[in-house]
């Protein structure tokens, strides 16, 4: 029975560590589908993590923490929006700068919190949903989780539906493919892009909040640990599809968790620990070439500013 317990553990932790990846990837999918590449995910996550941690610590209310985390992520995304949509700047540069800024800010402002833990009432705790949670193995994995986990799952489904089954989704996807066509239909390209970028920032902030208020409710240096980059890789891995992002993030989470868990059983699992990062590097490298991106079906106008009077 040790084995079943081990599998259950790996899956349970895997889905938990997948949740912030999923949230951030979902947001970035919307931004990229509208044509805006935001490499600032890691930075927005870090600031989201810090602001929500501080809020939850001071107020004792985790929901308030989450709200502030989302707001700060959204705010940072709007800086990226202003530069890349408003000023038609270079999106790669702006996104990288945002990541550096966010990481720096959270590390400096977070110094006073290092070592602090959230009191139990200020955290999101897993709560079993009876009687579903008593199903063997899967019961605990799927039905003994915290509220944000369920929200992220639902969000993936809703965001998929919005993107593929509604007029609004068609508009977002069209904007990332051919903004001139959207403009000619009398729809504001900038408005669509700002909104999608905002969604990306809010969800990156939420992902950060999950890390510091649910997953590991204590403040440590470098809280995000490259998860923003993993999320960016997941966006490519999922071929810009929310449902595939759900499956992909669970896969990544489980791989990460198996390294982590097996270590506790005395295996040296440096390879498994490093695997998500290795995959990330490979995927991001592949996704960096134009022809590869085109073959994978990336939004055709991804990263390109839109200007009406230009030829």
């Amino acid at each position: 029975m040790i084995e079943a317990k081990l599998v259950e553990n790996i899956l349970w932790i895997g889905l938990r560590s997948a949740t912030p990846l999923l949230l951030a990837a979902l947001g970035e999918i919307y931004a990229e589908r509208s044509g805006i590449l935001n490499l600032g995910v890691e930075g927005m996550m870090a600031v989201g993590a810090l602001s929500s941690f501080a809020t939850a610590l001071v107020t004792g209310n985790p929901w308030l923490g989450v709200l502030i985390g989302m707001l700060s992520g959204g705010l940072l995304a709007m800086i990226h929006g202003a530069i890349s949509i408003g000023l038609k700047g270079n999106q790669v540069v702006s996104g990288l700068a945002l990541t550096m800024f966010g990481l720096g800010l959270s590390s400096v402002l977070g110094r006073v919190y290092v070592g602090n833990q959230l009191p139990v009432e200020a955290r999101f705790l897993p709560k079993p949903v009876e009687p579903l949670s008593s199903i063997p193995v899967l019961g605990r994995v799927l039905f003994d989780q915290d509220p944000l986990f369920y929200i992220s799952l639902l969000l993936a489904l809703v965001m998929w539906f919005l993107l593929y089954r509604t007029k609004y989704g068609i508009i977002i996807r069209s904007t990332g493919e051919n903004p001139a066509a959207v403009d000619a239909m009398g729809i504001s390209v900038n408005r669509v892009r700002y909104l999608s970028t905002l969604i990306g920032g809010v969800l990156a902030g939420l992902a950060g909040a999950y890390l510091s208020v649910a997953y590991n409710p204590a403040w440590i240096e470098n809280m995000t640990a490259g998860r923003g980059w993993i999320a960016l890789a997941l966006v490519i891995f999922s071929l810009w599809d929310p449902i595939r992002a759900l499956l992909g993030s669970y896969l990544f989470g489980v791989v990460e968790a198996s390294g982590y868990t097996l270590q506790a059983y005395g295996y040296s699992q440096w390879l498994l620990n490093g695997l998500p990062y290795l995959l990330t590097i490979i995927i991001l490298t592949l996704g960096a070439t134009e022809s590869m991106r085109r073959r994978m079906g990336a939004p055709a106008a991804l990263g390109r500013p839109y200007e009406r009077e230009e030829r």
């Binding site: 007029k167 069209s174 493919e177 001139a180 000619a184 009398g186 729809i187």
Partner: protein, 508 residues
């Protein structure tokens, strides 16, 4: 053919001025469109036709002037405003999302229901099919459609938004003659409905075929507006060009010699990984112009790119002067004696931000006399540029001017001059006169004929059927990656070639 049209104009534009950096694209232009008329807007490339209509559609803002729609003074700040006023526009470059279906392209702007927007759109598309005879499959992906079909989607898009003013920007430039005739029938039915249609063109024959009135533009100004039955071909041509125009080119019979380019069973993949060229074989001999006709997008681009080394050959072979050139680098192929006049000259023909001098040695800078050790000899480079400027009558202030600032015609002369200076045995020319004014077009065509008479082999790919017929000794018609047939221009009619362009094999 014409209908008496009276009543208030649908559109009146007065004193429109639009400046772009360095050009006055519209210079106090007046224009009027009546209900129930097809109004041709005629002018050479660069005359300012597209600019004027883009202003009416809200894509550009005029610097001066007033616009009245249905009697009301309006400001059109964006296409959204234009659509609300009942204006629809079919652009020269279609504004469609390739990866989406026809229905999705329409639903994006016009569906009313948030959920399930596609169902309502599909129903209305069927309406238009019945009313105007426009056949489109709502579930087809745009990338699957031919250019002619895509144009129908654009027309449906405009009608869907309730347009009673429809602007078409050079709609026939992408159609076979038969497709063009279908389009004219659709336009006539819309005219019966009382809609006003602006038909932009630079082809005189089309004015006489469909239009009721014609407004002629030259260099940003309106030269005049006439009823078509009062106009003659010669008069319109003179208004358009500003001088008398010769419609025929002198051409002596060709005397083809040894093959210079031999292409065998060539198969090449397109951007999407599908076969764009499917088993094509032909040869081009010295002293011959071999023309390839066809509607754009039938594999011509990929064929040319494979020959000059810009795209990988999947199978088959390319030989130049008997030497295997299959999958060699562009430089190696150029060194075999191939000159290339590419389409999209701003993208593939020059480096826009380098000087005219630097651009004039793009294909030989790495060799003496331009290379001296590790350095470039700029004195020599300038001398080359100056001789090109003189010989090819390139209008440019100095060899140090950035190439971007040249007009289309001068840019093309620079490219052609650069390629010919290297004394190639084979010249590959893709749409060499696309977007040029009449003067430059005539110049380039005569030059190609002269080079043929100097025993060069010339491969001419052009979407302009008249150009291919006028210049070529033999014509291959390309359709869906294959040659439908190879014919001699004196043995077939223009209509027969047109039919072949839509895939039917008419063997003379």
């Amino acid at each position: 053919m014409t209908r008496a049209s009276n009543g208030e104009p649908l559109v009146r534009m007065e004193g429109i001025v639009k400046r772009f950096p360095g050009v006055l694209a519209n210079d106090h232009v007046d224009f009027e469109l009546l209900p129930g008329e097809i109004h041709a807007l005629l002018g050479e490339n660069g005359a300012g036709k597209t600019t004027l209509m883009n202003i009416l559609y809200g894509i550009y803002q005029p610097d001066e002037g007033q616009i009245f729609v249905k009697g009301r003074r309006v400001r059109i700040r964006s296409p959204r405003d234009a659509i609300r006023l009942g204006i629809g526009m079919v652009h020269q470059h279609f504004l469609l999302v390739d990866k989406h279906t026809v229905a999705e392209n329409l639903a994006m702007g016009y569906a009313k229901s948030f959920l399930n927007p596609l169902r309502e759109v599909k129903a209305r598309i069927r309406d238009f099919t019945e009313r105007y005879g426009i056949q489109v499959d709502p579930d087809a992906y745009i990338w699957q459609l031919s250019v002619g079909e895509q144009q129908k989607v654009e027309i449906v898009k405009a009608l869907y938004a309730g347009a009673d003013i429809l602007i078409l920007d050079e709609p026939t430039s992408v159609l076979t003659p038969q497709e063009a005739r279908d389009l004219f029938n659709v336009l006539r039915r819309m005219r019966e409905d009382g809609k006003g249609i602006v038909f932009i063109t630079h082809k005189l024959s089309e004015v006489f075929e469909v239009a009721d009135r014609v407004t002629v533009m030259r260099r940003g100004k309106v030269v005049g507006t006439l009823r078509v039955e009062e106009a003659t071909k010669e008069a319109l041509a003179r208004m358009m060009v500003g001088r008398d125009v010769v419609f025929e080119l002198e051409r002596t019979p060709g005397r083809p010699g040894e093959p210079v380019l031999e292409v065998r069973d060539l198969t090449v993949l397109g951007d999407r990984g599908r076969e764009a060229v499917r088993g094509v074989s032909f040869e081009v001999r010295e002293g011959e112009i071999f023309g390839i006709a066809g509607v754009a997008g039938n594999g011509q681009r990929e064929l040319v790119q494979a020959i000059v080394g810009l795209r990988r050959v999947k199978s088959g072979s390319v030989r130049v002067t008997g030497v295997d050139a299959t999958n060699r680098s562009p430089r190696e192929i150029a060194e075999l004696g191939v000159g290339h006049i590419p389409e999209e000259r701003l993208k593939f023909g020059i480096v826009p931000d380098m000087s005219v001098a630097e651009n004039s040695v793009l294909k030989s800078y790495y060799r003496p006399p331009y290379r001296k050790g590790l350095l470039l000899d700029y004195g020599e480079i300038r001398r080359t540029a100056e001789s090109l400027i003189n010989e090819y009558e390139i209008a440019v202030p100095s060899p140090d001017t950035r190439a971007r600032l040249l007009s289309g015609g001068n840019m093309q002369k620079l490219i052609v001059g650069r390629e010919i200076r290297r004394d190639p045995k084979l010249i590959v020319a893709s749409n060499p006169t696309f977007g040029l004014d009449v003067g430059a077009t005539e110049y380039i065509r005569k030059l190609l004929l002269r080079k043929r008479d100097e025993r060069k082999a010339i491969l001419l790919v052009s979407g302009d059927l008249d150009e291919v017929i006028q210049l070529s000794d033999r014509i291959a018609v390309m359709f869906e990656g294959r040659f439908v047939g190879i014919v001699r221009p004196e043995e077939v009619t223009r209509e027969e070639i047109g039919l072949m362009m839509s895939g039917s094999e008419v063997l003379p």
